[in-house]
Each structure stands twice: as C-alpha cells, then as structure tokens.
Symmetry: C2
DNA sequence: GCTCGCCTTGACAAGGTTGTCATGCCTTTA
DNA sequence: TAAAGGCATGACAACCTTGTCAAGGCGAGC
C-alpha cells in the first residue's frame, strides 16, 4: 500500500499550488524554469504518479488506447499489441484489448465498451477494420480510430498499410529471377482485400516479364493450411505442373510443402515454394520458407502514433495514412529452376 | 457524441436519488423490488452506462484486470487474453495488457503501472509468474494476483495449473499401449519447471509398465525447434534407435519430424512422434502431431475468476488454486510399432 | 512615471460515481 | 401500546485531477 501520494502533497512539498503541479505534469507552458524543477524534484522525492482515474474524470483524456480484434492469427495480434504498446508507453498510455466475437453483433459489443471506458482512440485490425457497423459506432461516439491494412473504403479514416501489390510483385520477380516461368499461384480468401492485391502484384510481374498467366496454374484458396494443401494437390497433380508455387500466405504455402513432401518432390530442387506473412510456422518447416514479412509492429506503432498525435481529426481533407515498407525474406524454399 | 448520460438523469427519470440508482447498479441489498425495476427500466431507456473513471475514483474498484506477459508464444498469450476476457466481461471488467521486457528491470516497469492505473488484479503468465521481484512489487502495492502454471514457490500465491506429470504419464502410456518399449525422450529447458514434471511423468509410466528408462534414449533439449532437431539427430543416428520419441513440447517434436523426414523415416510407420502443448504448428505438419493440449483459455478464465471473486485474499491458510484437466490429442504422428 | 499587456500563479468549481451517515417508516417484541 | 430494530431511501462529502478565470508581478513603450 505504498501509494496514496496525491498532487496535494507534491504541491505542499514544492511550495506551489496543485494547479502548478498539474501544469508541470502536463508539460503546459507558462511555468518558470526553477518552479518546474522544484516540482519535478518533489515528484521524484515522493515517487508521485498521477491517478489516472481522476485525470480522465477531470480532463478529456483517458490515457487508454483500445485494440479491437476478431480472430486473425495470434502472432499478428501479439505483434500489434507489442508495436502499439511501445509507442503508447512513451506517452503514459495503456492498452486495452477487446477481442470481438465476429459471429455475433459486433457493433452491439463495441458500443458499451466505448460508453463505459472512454478510450482516446482505437486501433482496428483486419477483419474488424472493414466492419462498417463498427466504424459507424466509433464515429457516432466520436472516438478516433486508425485502421490497420483496411480493405474497403480507405478514404473513410486514418489508416496504416503495407504495399501488398508491390510485395507480391517482387516475390514473383524473385522467382522469375531464379529462372522460373511457370509459376503457380494460390489466391487467398476472396473476401480479404489483400487477396486481390497480392494476385494483382503477381499478374503484373508475370506480364511485365513477358510470361503468360496460365489460368490452370492459378487456384483459389482460403488462407488455410487445408486449402493450400488441396490447391497444391490440384496444381502438382497435373503433368505440366509449375516449377514454382507462390501462395498468398504462409499457411497455404505450408500446405504446398506438405503435398510436395508426400509426392517426394524435393524443395527447392524440384519445386520452389513461396509464402507471404512470415508467420512463426515459416521457420518451423524444412526447408524454411521464403516469404514476405509485414512490419506489423511498426505498423501498429504508426497507428498508435497517429492516434496520440491527434492526426486523425483533420477535417475536410483526406485522412492521414502511412505506407510502410515490407521485407522480402529469402530462405531455402526457393531456388533456381532445376 | 451520444454519451453523457449520467446517473442523475437516470435518478430523475425513475424518481429516486442517485444513491439508489447506484445501489441498483451495484446489486446492493436493501432496494425494494419495484424500485429496482423502475431504475433498471430507466437505465435501459436512457441507454445509460456508468462512467468507469468516476466509479474507480470514488470507489475501490477500477474494473481493470491486468495481464502481464513477457515473451511466451503468441498463441499462448492470445489464448490467455481470450480466456480472461470471457470471464471479465461477465462482471463488466476490462483487460489491460502489459508486455514486459524481461531483459530490463522488470520490477521497475511494473511499479509505475500499478501506481497510475490501479488494477483490481493481475494475471501472471510464465515466465514472469516466477519473477520474485515482480511478486514483491505486487505484494508491496497490495494488488492481488494469480499465477498461471507457476514453477517456484507455489504456496506463495493463488495459482492455476495443469497436471503436467499426469499428462506426460498418459502420453507415455499411450505410446506403450501402441506396443512401443523403446521410447526416446527429449527434455525441455532445465530452468522451466514443466520440464522436470514432464520428465517425471515419462519416467513413472515407463517404470510402472516395466520398461527401463535408457539413459542414452533421453536427450536434453531447450524447448526450441533447433534443440529438438539436434536431439533427434543424436537419438536417430544410433543403430539401436528408439521406435518412438516423446518431446517435451511441440516445437521440439517438429524438429524430430524434420529429422525423420530427412532420414526418410516414415512417421508413424517407422517412428512415432509425440509432442506437448498443441501449438498451432502441430496441425501444420504432415502427419499432424499427437500432443497434449493445455486448456489455456479455461486456465486464464479460472485465474480471472479467482481475482473477481476475491478468492486471492484469504489470509492464514494456503492460497486458493485450481488444477485443470489436460486433453490428450491423438493425431497421426503416433501409431503401432512397425 | 504611468499604462498596457504578457507571464506566472492560485482559488475554486467541475467531473460522475461511491461511501457514510442520518432519516423516516414499518414490523416485531415485550 | 410503547419501545426496539430492520429496511428503504436520501443528503452530502469524498475521491483526485483538470479547466476556468481572476489576480499579482514585472518589463516595455510612451
């Protein structure tokens, strides 16, 4: 029970009013330098920390940033949290996590949260970031929000994303550079915007390098291991099979590797395999997976930054956004055409 | 900006004092039934939600539960959050996540958190749950906490855990039931308590079924893919290699599978492989891994429950604890001895 | 030397809820 | 019938900070 030090005791010790202490705490102007120093010393001496409840009750800030997610991968969620926290800590903010049940009425889950706990801002991850009902509620409640990799209606709000098209383009170019011309592609879940963007990048690279996109070398997947497995069975079952397969995410690429393993196709000698996302699983296969790394922590930190600097509130013009660089991670699953 | 409905408006609409509204909200006794109903109707009509900052400032509860973690797997962290949230929501509590940097001075990171944001309780995951400095700070600040799968000094606090010994026993018995007698074992990180417990279960099952524990069939690992890989290379490199390998966690088991794959040993025809934890990776290999599933979400929910019901504060006697059931997940990586 | 205006500071209210204590009514007991 | 006690409710203070507004001090310009 060491706590219970209030602003009054700091004020008494430093010989000023509580208001001046408040000013120092909030880095407000109009405090003489030596007054400021005196207060800071008292704060340190008493190990004083402002009470966040009193602060948010009296002022406008709650010192809380929310992260809403529903169901993307654990690795993604944790990275988002780590990235957001890193930035929030600098300003004394805390992170509140709110998993949403996308089966139910998501908006109805969000509304009470915002009502009770007045958050200063919310970070939305896919797929919640494209749930219009949630966006409506946030706007109705006047809570600023930033979307991570939004798919729909990007101009609606501040957002942070990565250039999926260019990443897929470069991965395809990497395979072409290794001598592959017949490159199979496994699309992702058709309702995820990233699916289309990645496919677009693949097509652009193929065309630009003068290779045809063969329809029978493009399969529909659903971002799951199983869908990748089945797509690979179809792709590799035919006599004129591709020499490389680029799957729209790692889980599906791992499905491809499993099929290759069953068919006794050596990777990468007989088949190159590329994924997307750099999930933990990418390093837990043999050979390790060539893939694209999204800078998820950096993206989340950027989102927190937009929130903390109030960059979301600009009216009239296009909402602020950040575009971050990806990283091509070349491991052992891709090699020269054999 | 739809909010701003306060307790006063509810009081006015239902014709009682704000104190009575407060009583209804907090399920306090001594309110006539029809008064209670009238208030509840007003609450519903106005869509009123108590302001959490004001509540925690005035009262003793903050309606916040913290989850401290440093570095276990993302899948584990997310499951803990989901489990804890599920229970917290029932009581209107929110979850605050605080990743800790275990490289730095962890206690110094924890102290300010508790000071500013007065949490009602904290859930500690391994390995933070065994950091004595953190426990000291929590106790000094008077914040109740529950540890998940603590390793050291279990009597120090409330905790929730799973029976690792029995789980390892049953997995070993499962292999023995398939006809295996030469069962290799890969130990986990020697500083994790679970390592010893799992080994203990393995030894007990072997002895009880009349099989010798051959020292050259037991290897030291570190819970990592690589350490499992290397241990498997040693185990499978010798002429009298075991017919089954039980690794203390999934990552190491995946390392074993990779070696088997390289040596062209069919799993499970020529080698059975068992893991522990049921991480996502267990389903992303071919064949899928037989393993033990920890009921992580249920454990976290139990921890939250201990916190919310105040079961942690009992003085004098042993702190409350819960022991949850594991689940043996038999997939395709284990089979009859060939 | 005086006025004006900026810088610095403080007194006080406000923010929405819970805790304490007092009050009045109704029921039980002697 | 009177006293005692329990139940239902309300008035008001308290929680700790920030926002508003007023006031004092001091230097610059005339």
């Amino acid at each position: 029970m060491s706590s219970k030090v209030t602003i009054h005791e700091v004020a008494r010790l430093s010989g000023v009013s509580i208001k001046t202490v408040s000013r120092v705490l909030n880095r407000e102007p109009n405090v003489k330098n030596d007054t400021r120093t005196r207060v800071q010393e008292a704060v340190a001496a008493l190990n004083y920390r402002p009470n966040i409840s009193a602060r948010s009750l009296a002022g406008s800030k709650a010192y809380l940033i929310g992260v809403f997610f529903d169901n993307p991968s654990p690795a993604y969620v944790t990275d988002v949290q780590l990235g957001a926290i890193a930035r929030c800590r600098e300003e004394g903010y805390h992170l509140i996590v709110e998993p949403l049940d996308s089966e139910g009425d998501v908006a109805a889950q969000v509304e009470p949260m915002l009502h009770t706990l007045r958050m200063d801002g919310v970070i939305l991850t896919p797929p919640v970031c494209d749930n219009v009902a949630v966006l409506d509620v946030l706007e109705a409640e006047g809570v600023p929000y930033v979307r991570l990799s939004p798919d729909q209606d990007q101009d609606r709000s501040a957002h942070v994303r990565m250039d999926d098209v260019r990443a897929a383009y470069e991965m395809t170019a990497h395979l072409i550079g290794l001598g592959h011309t017949d490159i199979g592609f496994i699309k992702g879940h058709p309702e995820h915007g990233a699916s289309h963007l990645r496919y677009e990048g693949y097509v652009a690279a193929m065309k630009e390098h003068g290779h045809a996109v063969r329809e029978d070398h493009v399969e529909q997947g659903w971002f799951s291991f199983r869908s990748g497995f089945e797509a690979a069975e179809r792709l590799l079952g035919r006599p004129d099979r591709p020499t490389a397969i680029f799957a729209s995410n790692d889980d599906m690429a791992l499905g491809v590797m499993a099929v290759a393993n069953r068919l006794r196709l050596e990777v990468p000698q007989s088949l190159s395999v590329a994924g997307f996302d750099d999930t933990p699983g990418a390093k837990v296969v043999w050979p390790q997976l060539t893939t694209v790394r999204q800078p998820i922590q950096a993206m989340a930190a950027a989102a927190a930054d937009l929130l903390l600097t109030g960059a979301t509130r600009a009216e009239g013009e296009a909402p602020p956004s950040r575009l971050l660089d990806f990283e091509l991670v070349v491991r052992e699953s891709t090699g020269p055409v054999g």
